[in-house]
């Protein structure tokens, strides 16, 4: 794992914007790239596959042992939704890993419900490689795998894709539109719309779209914890249409309580960091307090006690590559390793100010 600096393409902004990265101006950074060997990437692939299998085991454990309270889930209705959805297939997710190229990659969190950073990983960095380094490779089969994932769901015909208009950056909309495009390429009918425009037909007991058409299946870039707590959340019932993508059981992966459950089940695993829900325990010299449902690095505190609803994870600073601290976003599609995107920040917490830096595989 090496970081190189390079001159950006003169027309980089218009190019990456036209490749779907509407929010590229202060985010996409091609003045640098990371180089990996094939062996390094294959090792990361194995880590991701193993982590995902462990996460599924954790989900089944939480359900079987009724550990929902550790996640802050006390509503019986939400529990039933999770349990009833357990057999529904997943689409995609992003592990955030601390990796320096030499020591074990360590899981920081799993964005399994509403992951973004997808368009840049699947599209913009792919086109970047094709233009600048076509002889090299990239850990990035996201596009092909997403198209294939939709093809594996023959029962779906028309799928709605819902984003929230509250995200003014354009990232949620473009991520949703890109996923709709992959479904369209798999032969599905798609309709992209704001989640705010979803309607409820009380007489028919159905959700409708902005043209009053019944919603049979919906991909929502909208967290489950919001969905079930909203006014319409009462209409979301186990075993009833529509099919929600991602399924409700992914609530058990996108919550930071997962980190503590994993450490409990797989204590000492080289790709995990010690993590607890009841306090930092032996981590007093270095820990990070993460809100169970925090997003984009918000609310994270280093070596500072927090109130209830936090997970305490051992603090391993992100590696330093010339003042730049990368975090590896390792993607899964249908539970299988599918690619990588790297975000860099100057501080120890990767937040909304992070930059996306492309990567390649050489040798």
């Amino acid at each position: 794992m090496r970081r190189h600096t390079i001159a950006a393409r003169p027309d980089w902004l218009s190019k990456v914007e036209s490749q779907g990265l509407a929010y590229a101006r202060s985010y996409w950074d091609e003045t640098a790239y990371y180089e990996f060997s094939l062996q390094e990437v294959e090792a990361l692939e194995e880590v991701v596959a193993e982590l995902h299998a462990m996460c599924l085991e954790a989900v089944d454990h939480v359900i079987a042992a009724d550990r929902f309270a550790d996640y802050g889930i006390t509503d019986e209705r939400v529990k039933r939704l999770i349990v009833a959805s357990r057999d529904e297939p997943e689409l995609y997710g992003r592990f955030d890993l601390r990796h320096d190229g030499s020591s074990h990659a360590r899981l920081l969190e799993y964005n399994a419900d509403t992951p973004t950073s997808l368009v840049e990983a699947a599209s913009a960095q792919w086109f970047w490689l094709e233009e600048l380094f076509p002889a090299d490779d990239q850990w990035n089969s996201l596009h092909e795998r997403l198209v294939a994932a939709w093809r594996k769901r023959p029962l779906l015909d028309r799928v709605h894709f819902a984003y929230t208009v509250d995200d003014t950056s354009g990232e949620d909309f473009m991520t949703t539109a890109y996923l709709a495009e992959t479904a369209s390429q798999a032969g599905l009918r798609t309709h992209v719309m704001p989640i705010e425009a979803i309607g409820w037909d009380g007489l028919g007991g159905r959700f409708v779209d902005d043209t009053d058409t019944t919603i049979d299946a919906v991909f929502k870039l909208y967290p489950w914890e919001w969905l079930v707590s909203d006014r319409f959340g009462a209409h979301v019932k186990p075993g009833h249409a529509p099919v929600w993508i991602e399924p409700a059981w992914k609530m058990l992966l996108s919550n930071k309580a997962l980190l503590a459950i994993l450490w409990e089940l797989f204590r000492g695993h080289p790709n995990l960091l010690p993590a607890y829900l009841d306090g930092p325990r032996e981590l007093v010299s270095g820990y990070v307090a993460k809100p169970l449902l925090g997003r984009e690095g918000a609310g994270i505190r280093i070596n500072e006690l927090a109130g209830p609803g936090h997970c305490y994870q051992a603090f391993h600073p992100l590696p330093d590559f010339g003042g730049n601290r990368p975090v590896i976003g390792a993607w899964t599609v249908c539970g299988e390793p599918a690619g990588m995107g790297i975000r860099e920040s100057e501080g120890l917490i990767t937040d909304l100010g992070a930059r996306f830096v492309p990567h390649l595989i050489r040798g």
Binding site: G20, P115, Y163, F173, G199, L227
Partner: protein, 132 residues
Amino acid sequence: MSRSRTRSRSHNRKRALPPPAQPAPVAERPARSDGAATNDSAPPRKRRLRSSYVILGSVGTLFVGLCVYGVFRDRDRDRTCVDANNYVVADRECERVSSGARWYYGGSNHGGRMSGGSFERGGFGGHGGGGS
């Protein structure tokens, strides 16, 4: 191959890159769950980890549309704040939790009362960006 890709890029509407003219590279290792195949009679070739194509369809042109039409900012379009009987009230009433007012989507105003709109809407949203 690279030349044909360059030509594809020049099309604004359909940003399609054709699959490579050569057969997909063959895995160096035994068959994997990702579907990579092996061929015993051919010399081993390096495994390829990137998509052989990325087709963006209309995604690449959406950004321009967003800027023109203001998709994100225009969350107030086509909605009216109404009371429990669909009478129009001030928008600020819909921002007060205990007011009993709600947003009515679509429809038209007849004598201060909204009608012709479709089903109850606005039951999701209001939290900020949903991505992570």
